[in-house]
């Protein structure tokens, strides 16, 4: 942190506000909510990937003691409004529905909702429901889903092509891509899933007399949930309240409001009862949204010195059956960002999202990150092919700071970034050249396979799509001078109650302990974007800043009136509003607040009573951040096991609000990327049966697999007032290709190659022959 930007609170590793309650078992997660008369829900789900529902036998379940209702599609679906998220209301997508009606489209699709007096009884009843399914051949292989003669996943749409975007290929580019100096590779990224430690869940209370619906939910986005629940249930949105309180991780999975939560809300509305549904881990693995699952055919055309002349990416993403939040994942961004931080005069692309009879795709920490995976893996493959070290290739091709702003070949404007600085910093920290020497020695002397890999990227943190780019802060000062900030965010581990209090205390010149942040509750906050898309520091942070500017100006005006001084001569320091250079001429912040509320005759004539402000910040289209990851591994030739030896991240997220939290976010993302590349794999068989339905099969990284992560920071302030940039997702964007490249580098020593993940021991052994 440079001295120029470190403040009293902003830039300091302030310990988190949230921690004491979470460390003592006093957090309040959705499953901790208990309401009078609350009933418990469970779903009966499809066990075939595609088929017709011939009959559903529910009598035995209904007869079980303690069962209150057994609901099927005919009970709920006719009463449901649209299930599309707010930002996509006008976009055609998969035909979302509460319960499967007439047919099923993936294993795990909800067919029946059971309501009972306890979860134990609800699960007993689920065992008694008999669903007669006539199974049909499913569409599982995304690379053949568009073939002639293949069934359609959604009969309503009569194609499996969910979305497509293609740029024309100019003749000059076409010549380059077909030329002798073009290199082609195909990369495949396997399906994995966010896996928050707290599964999803909702408690919904509908009070028929007043028509009020109140929900407690594990959500990143309480206002989106409120809007979605209002649409689906028909309860007017001003009568819907959604509270998030503590949320046990989300990573994108809880950003939009999923089908089960909406179905339970609709059932609560229909039954007029209070319902709780807590997803179990099997449901979370098979039926909460999945992610990644991409294929790309890439072409790089180079000049004789290895410099990029043109690129093409043909990207295919598996959207599953009912993706949530977008038609596919983020295919357009994959195409638009493919050239990333490298200079490239020409590029073209095609990107397609395709339906399959699998769990729907959803947001996961950097939903578009396959652009970095495909590009960075391509860079190493290309460098190897032309006999150049991958670090040298990047040095030659990276956009130097002196050439910013730089317009990407797809038209996106890149500025205020430092890819070349982070590249050099990461290479220095990991001691790249020394590693190369050690690598050569280890193979020559002991036959050991060491490898090093880099992942360099720029992250757009785009706020282009409403309402993702906007947040509103309300800053209220009470008569004691203490401040409550309300935000429409949905913190789920980011420490927003801490970081936003740091910003407000800094801006107002008061103590951190005098600021409280209220968020995660739609009734006491203004409509906002929620927490996701690496947006909080930039968007919520700047909305806080704008509101503080108004409050601060008014407090200074009051103080100036009391002190008979000019407002321009006053400053707020440590809770005192004083004449600059004459600290004895001062009035306490708390005294100004008291007068603003309780001794209003002393306010300047005509001034409105009170001390508070509301401000909205709209982010610019792009707030670029960037980082370089460097990973060193050893590949065991006998077992195929990959061990991560060192891991370095050099990142630039502009002005850091709390370096401790920044490094925590980076570390979490990196380890998800290591897990995603080496261990985590959601597997379907050819019939669409999920094979990894417990934590014994779906393998998350543990303490014994992860290295100690080393950090470097470069600080290029963003052009927005606080100078912050997005950084929540980046760790998970840069890490997969860094790990892949390190393994590929190790394998290349013995001439082995890989082009797909996960890099599990069997895959690595297969590559080694």
């Amino acid at each position: 942190m440079s001295a120029s930007t470190a403040g009293r609170f902003v830039g300091q590793s302030v310990k988190r506000r949230e921690d004491p309650r979470l460390l003592t078992g006093h957090g309040r997660y959705v499953d901790d909510v208990m309401r009078p008369g609350m009933l418990h829900c469970t779903f009966v789900r499809s066990d075939v990937a595609r088929g017709r529902i011939v009959g559903i036998e529910t009598e035995a379940a209904k007869d079980l003691d303690g069962v209150v209702a057994v609901l099927t599609a005919s009970d709920l679906n006719p009463h449901a409004g649209t299930m599309q998220p707010t930002m996509l209301l006008t976009t055609p997508g998969a035909p979302l529905r509460p319960l499967a009606d007439g047919d099923v489209r993936f294993v795990g699709e909800p067919i029946v909702l059971i309501v009972a007096e306890s979860r134990y009884v609800a699960e007993d009843a689920a065992e008694l429901v008999e669903v007669d399914l006539e199974s049909e051949p499913p569409v599982i292989d995304v690379e053949h889903a568009l073939d002639v003669g293949v069934a359609v996943v959604h009969p309503e749409l009569d194609t499996n092509l969910g979305a497509e975007m293609a740029f024309p290929i100019a003749p000059e580019l076409a010549a380059l891509l077909d030329g002798d100096n073009a290199i082609r590779r195909t990369f495949r990224q396997h399906r994995h899933t966010p896996v928050p430690m707290e599964t999803r869940g909702i408690v919904v209370e509908y009070e028929p007399a007043g028509g009020v619906l109140e929900a407690w939910m594990s959500t990143q986005n309480p206002h989106e949930a409120k809007q979605a629940i209002a649409r689906v249930t028909g309860v007017p949105s001003h009568l819907v309240r959604v509270q998030g309180h503590d949320v046990g991780g989300g990573f994108g999975q809880k950003f939009f409001t999923p089908r089960e939560e909406l179905t339970v809300a609709l059932a609560a509305r229909r039954l007029g009862r209070t319902l709780k549904w807590i997803e179990d881990r099997r449901e979370n693995l098979i039926a909460s949204n999945h992610a990644r699952a991409d294929v790309a055919h890439c072409t790089f055309a180079l000049d004789a010195d290895g410099r990029l002349l043109g690129t093409y990416i043909d990207h295919l993403e598996d959207a599953g059956s009912f993706p949530i939040g977008a038609t596919g994942g983020a295919g357009a961004l994959v195409g638009l960002l493919f050239t990333g931080p490298y200079k490239c005069p020409q590029a073209s692309l095609r990107t397609r999202a395709v339906w399959t009879n699998t769990c729907g795709r959803g947001a996961y920490r950097g939903p578009w990150m396959f652009e970095t995976v495909a590009r960075e893996q391509m860079v190493d493959a290309v460098a190897r092919e032309i006999g150049m070290d991958p670090l040298e290739w990047r040095r030659r091709n990276v956009v130097p700071t002196s050439e910013l702003p730089y317009t990407l070949p797809t038209g996106l404007p890149l500025d205020m970034v430092s890819p070349s600085e982070t590249l050099e910093q990461a290479a220095e920290i990991i001691a790249y050249d020394e590693f190369r020497a050690e690598q050569a020695r280890a193979f020559a002397e002991d036959g050991r396979l060491l490898g090093i890999g880099l992942g360099l990227y720029v992250e757009p943190s785009t706020g282009m799509m409403d309402p993702m780019g906007t947040e509103t802060a309300v800053v209220r000062v009470d008569p004691n001078g203490q401040v409550t900030v309300s935000l429409g965010t949905g913190s789920h581990g980011q420490g927003i109650e801490t970081t936003m209090a740091q910003v407000v205390a800094e801006e107002l010149g008061i103590d951190f302990d005098d600021v409280t942040v209220v968020q995660g509750d739609s009734a006491v906050t203004t409509f906002g974007r929620g927490t996701g898309g690496s947006g909080t520091a930039v968007i919520a942070g700047n909305s806080c800043r704008s509101a503080c500017a108004v409050v601060r100006a008014k407090a200074i005006e009051i103080a100036a009136h009391l002190l008979e001084a000019a407002p321009d001569d006053l400053d707020i320091v440590d809770g005192q509003i004083a004449v600059r250079g004459t600290p004895s001429r001062a009035v306490a912040w708390s005294e100004v607040a008291r007068i603003a509320h309780l001794e209003t005759a002393r306010l300047p004539e005509g001034m409105e009573v009170g001390l508070e402000a509301t401000a909205t910040f709209k982010a610019p289209p792009f707030s670029w951040s960037n980082a370089c990851h460097a990973c060193a591994v050893e590949v065991d030739r006998a077992t195929g096991v990959v061990t991560v030896l060192r891991y370095v991240v050099s990142e630039d997220c502009g002005v850091m609000i709390n370096p401790m939290i920044v490094e925590g976010q980076v570390a979490g993302g990196v380890v998800q990327g290591i897990g995603g590349t080496l261990y985590e794999h959601f597997v379907y068989d050819d019939e669409g049966n999920p094979l990894t339905t417990t934590f014994m099969d779906y393998l998350l990284p543990t303490t014994t697999e992860v290295p100690t992560i080393e950090y470097g920071h470069v600080e290029t302030p963003a052009p927005t007032p606080g100078g912050h940039k997005g950084m929540g997702e980046g760790g998970a964007i840069g890490s997969p290709p860094a790990v892949f490249n390190a393994v590929a580098d190790a394998l290349a020593i013995v001439g082995a190659t890989i082009d797909h993940t996960p890099l599990s021991p069997d895959v690595v052994l297969g590559a080694l022959g």
Partner: protein, 155 residues
Amino acid sequence: MLPVEMIVNGTRRNGRVDPRKTLADFLREDCTLTGTHLGCEHGVCGACTVLVDGEAVRSCLLFAVQAGGSEVTTIEGLGGPDGELSAVQDAFRQEHGLQCGFCTPGFVVSVTALLHENPAPAEQEIREALSGNLCRCTGYQGIVRAVQRAAEAAR
């Protein structure tokens, strides 16, 4: 329904439970101690870890009746009565060993048991001892440091 009696965080608790009710559900629902979290309900993630007669156990894999007559300590029983953090809890805060906090009670209980058994664990011993607890937010960086810090503080 069967009668069950145990000491939870120093307080005698009596209840009548379904024989199949897990200890975790008994603690959360009957004792309203919701700090014990359920992350997988199949004994892998460790979020539900509590101490039964001083041993760290997974409360999702134990029936409440099996803990009858035992002394149970949950996350709520580790700190001081006025909200004061235990040495382990404080070390987690100082080292940013938690983000969303959902797995945290299981980690704090497991670390408490570890340091009781081995007050000065080496880093590899810490990593092995905690390999049965899953965290999805922190990448375990602050957790390993927190154990080292708590062990240091106790010396």
